[in-house]
Symmetry: C2
Subunit: 250 residues, 2 copies
DNA sequence: TCGTTCGAGTTTACAGTGTTCACTGTTTAC
DNA sequence: GTAAACAGTGAACACTGTAAACTCGAACGA
């Protein structure tokens, strides 16, 4: 785990590559959009030089997509960590609200990472694998169960196709240690993520009454639905003030 | 309601405009994407001539977006009408499944209409107003209630902000005739649409285990959730075979 | 230390994009 | 029958991503 032996040149290379990513992201926000020439100018070189760092325009987009995902995941972790470690319900709520707030404030970046039609064409597996943002929520659901031990779905009651997924979940990282008897938690986890993702996407793309978004009522009711999903509705009164505080644009 | 007095020229004009839309939509499917020159060639003229019919590239996109929405709405209505008129639950289920199937089969078009970041910038109200696809579902929920008369949320129990929306819903067309005591149906309606939209969007953009999509388990469980939302879970056993039949790619 | 190699970067160029302008004919209308 | 409105063309402009040839400086092995 020592410092990797990077040559002087390689360090330089990584630095400018980082600069390219940051320039691209700032351009993504501005009108006029992301163009190679604009990126090059912002970095201080000419467009073809970018091809020393990036195979393609699409490769550049992939690069900044990953960067956005990582940064978003970090943002969500920060929100999570603002709450005590032994209160996973509070942690997941703050993380969810932070995610929503970020998405509404950065619609273009959200669309790039979470609603990108072109990325569907490529290999799906890899995309899911390093979707850090989703993984953070996965971990939190797991921690939520460790604390509250809410009843899990009976495997016998589940669709066999769901069982198959639950037996061999494609979730990276820390969830390998799920004990056998808690495997059906994965199913709740998938549903939970679907509701969060679905609600936020609806709000971001505005396919509903604008007042629903502005007042956050739909999102609030979705949060309540999550509590129901996890069978911890009795926690809701305790957490309500926290929800309001965080929804109030903190 | 007589035939509108269209001049010979105007009829021609509308015909070629329709041809332009159809050419554009066929190009949307092909790789290479939608370009003015390609459209022009397919229609048999040169690119600048398109500006006689369309203000802008973006205007063309808006045009075909509306066209897709209308066609999708028609498709959904057809699915709905395959079921008897006095069985709104069956009708809404078939419509929902048809919507999902269309979305998964036409990801690019779905993204254009239902997950278009650029359309958020423009005036929201108009977009929602002529979103025919959503309106069809709205109507069906209304008909579902007319038949089953499931209990509605108590206005007193609702968030005041939600009440405000429910009092003055921005839903066009046939829903103006909702009686005063059924106004809170609007809130269920919004939630219902959110779940359908959210689930389909998640599946289309593939931000979950691919097997979840392929097996349709998430969508199936979402349908069950809708029944729960409307308090008609007792109808589920009766409708299950219909769901399976329609999910089996008919 | 000297040559060689390699790599970052520029120049030029090409095909293709949306869009504008000046210009044809043809159709409609008075 | 003449004038205006209209559909459509051709050339041009300012862009886009991308490829090839080239230059210059830093790193490396002898």
């Amino acid at each position: 785990m020592t410092a990797t032996p990077v040559s002087r040149r390689e360090r330089q290379r990584l630095a400018t590559l980082d600069e390219i990513v940051r320039a691209s992201r700032s351009l993504l926000r501005e009108p006029g959009g992301l163009t190679l020439r604009a990126v090059a100018q912002k970095v201080g070189m000419t467009a073809p030089a970018l091809y020393r760092y990036v195979d393609d325009y699409r490769a550049l987009v992939r690069l900044i997509t990953r960067d956005i995902d990582r940064e978003t995941a970090a943002l969500i972790r920060a929100a999570r960590d603002s709450q005590p470690e032994d209160d996973p319900a509070a942690r997941i709520i703050c993380a969810g609200i932070a995610f929503r707030r970020w998405a509404l404030a950065n619609r273009a970046e959200f669309a790039l990472v979470f609603a990108n039609p072109s990325s569907t064409a490529e290999d799906h597996a890899e995309m899911m694998a390093d979707e850090e943002t989703a993984v953070v929520f996965h971990e939190m659901v797991w921690q939520l169960w460790q604390k509250h031990r809410f009843p899990l779905p009976d495997p016998a009651s589940l669709d066999p196709l769901v069982l198959e997924i639950v037996e061999d979940p494609m979730i990276p990282g820390k969830l390998d240690g799920i004990p056998e008897e808690a495997r059906t938690l994965t199913w709740l986890l998938i549903q939970s993520w679907a509701r969060l993702y679905g609600t936020v996407t609806l709000e971001v793309f505005g396919h509903c009454d604008p007042r629903v978004i502005e007042s956050a009522s739909l999102f609030r009711s979705m949060l309540a639905g999550q509590a129901e999903l996890f069978g911890i509705t009795d926690e809701l009164p305790r957490l309500a003030p926290l929800v309001e505080e965080w929804l109030a644009e903190r």
